[in-house]
Symmetry: C2
Subunit: 327 residues, 2 copies
């Protein structure tokens, strides 16, 4: 590996000059600049990030903490984040907290020892105070929004209204919302959106809660639908929940969308793969991730944020788990 010293010697200048060139700081003559450039090319020099980090106390690495990598929403957002970060010269360490606070804490501690530049956090395990005491740039993604740390998320309430309105427009007579855990902020907001949308309508409604897991959602839906056979429309708190619901309906010998119509939330690609494919509220996952990275990099570089809390507008994707009334 060639070092900055090799380059300096080869270009006939001091290491300080080379370093100034690399970081575009201070004055450099045209001549020195040219020499350094050719030396770097000839020697195929790449600065050692570790040595650089030891001085600057900052690695070109960001940590992404997700609660469950097996939930397909998170690989999709991870991909967007990674893609954007790589373009900006950062690499991403993906950390799976398994929804366990101690794992999350362990990751954060470990990565601080590696001079991580910042975190994007899509978890709500640890307390806000903990993050506040961290003293590391961070952006919250899709989870907590308490005003203290910058955040980016889908406009969950609007999205839920969008999805519920559509379901109603498809002519359902008795509607259920199978939401995610209400202590998870987006799940709560989506439920609020649902309630707002059905408010004043002359439609029988139910709200039940389920974890963001396929199997539990299936069970919850199975029980609900067995108890209330009149339900003909379901707004699910996430696409994974919606898919669990589909299976429950299938087990009950009913059909989607003929007997029961479903609208999901997320817009993960899995929604296209299931049969019937899923009508859903699309969070615009790529944009969500991209925005989070850009915000984080601004914070890292000490720039002002235009907005502390960004909400990405969701949109509706109509597929085969609903059927329009006119048809």
């Amino acid at each position: 590996m060639t070092t900055i010293k090799d380059v300096a010697k080869h270009a006939g200048v001091s290491v300080a000059t080379v370093s100034r060139y690399l970081n575009k700081k201070g004055y450099i003559s045209e001549e020195a600049k040219k020499n350094i450039e050719t030396s770097i090319k000839q020697l195929n020099y790449r600065p050692n990030q570790v040595a650089r980090s030891l001085s600057t106390k900052r690695m070109q690495t960001i940590g992404l903490i997700v609660p469950d990598i097996m939930n397909p929403f998170f690989p999709e957002i991870a991909r967007a984040i990674e893609d954007t970060a790589l373009k900006e010269g950062y690499t991403v360490i993906l950390c799976n907290s398994d929804e366990q606070a101690h794992k999350e804490r362990q990751y954060i501690e470990t990565l601080k020892q590696k001079y991580i530049a910042g975190f994007i956090i899509a978890t709500n395990q640890l307390e806000r105070e903990y993050y506040a005491g961290l003293n590391v740039p961070l952006v919250l993604l899709d989870r907590i929004t308490d005003g203290k740390a910058p955040s980016v998320s889908s406009h969950n309430k609007n999205g839920a209204v969008l999805g519920t309105d559509y379901l109603v427009s498809c002519g359902v007579k008795e509607i259920a919302c199978i939401s995610g855990p209400q202590n998870v902020v987006p799940a709560y907001e989506r439920t609020q959106g649902f309630l707002k949308a059905v408010e004043g309508l002359n439609i029988k409604t139910h709200v039940v809660e389920s974890p963001f897991h396929f199997k539990e959602a299936e069970k919850t839906a199975f029980d609900l639908l067995s108890a209330h056979p009149g339900i003909d429309g379901i707004f699910a708190g996430s696409d994974v929940i919606a898919i669990g619901v589909q299976r429950a309906i299938h087990r009950l010998g009913l059909s989607v969308p003929d007997d029961i119509q479903i609208v999901g939330y997320d817009g993960i690609s899995l929604g296209e793969m299931v049969t019937p494919s899923l009508t859903t509220v699309d969070q615009n996952i790529y944009q969500l991730g991209e925005t989070a990275v850009k915000m984080l990099l601004k914070i890292i570089e000490g720039q002002e944020l235009d907005k502390e809390h960004v909400m990405i507008a969701p949109s509706l994707i109509v597929r085969d788990s609903t059927k329009e009334k006119s048809k």
Copy 2:
């Protein structure tokens, strides 16, 4: 942040002694050891990984390169790898190559600058020579097996025989293998297993190729089944392909497993989520990832490997996309 100097001062010894204690190298008196231990605790000292890496030229970080993070197989294996690595004190950088050689190369170069300890590579974009010239510990996962680099993979041929035999035992009369791309080694091996299993049987067989993507697989299956309506059994080269096949069958107005039975390959959790759930050959994904990490760490630590090429035995998971003859 407390440094090794602080600890040394507090414990009344030199930094060298503290360092020796930390690395369990050389002689240390019981007394010094005790002092250092209490000092570390009192000061809440954690060694700075970056500084350490600058000396040792090695980070406690491993790079995992996958071709497509949106393919659910890879998050599952990533989770296993991350889990195992974290237990051993390593963090994982997950890199998504998008099946593009230049992205893969860019990751490798970037990470070498960060003194990455080693790579686990689940891609076959770059040439073997490139890896050979890398001079970094690496383990190939589920892809190339050319004898030059250590590898771990499912015993694909056996697995394919297992799956095909089962399909045959379910009474299918005309069977198709919709394989992954034949230039991808495991896909090729699975096809070989399929051919071996049907050899000599008096069953009409077809073999067609499809990318490991849901939509293309759906199209391939649709065309194949339209052309050969007699097909009543399909062995898919992966679970994602199998799910595409399911959709094609559904579009054709046929039913799984009554009209056509399907066996997939991988054992991803998605297989449980679709309707009907998927009978499949389970690669034992967690074990695959765990083994890869353990092998890599041995190489990093300069130990001898028991076996250069590990093959994990697959097993069959029977679900609802097949039906046993007796029933």
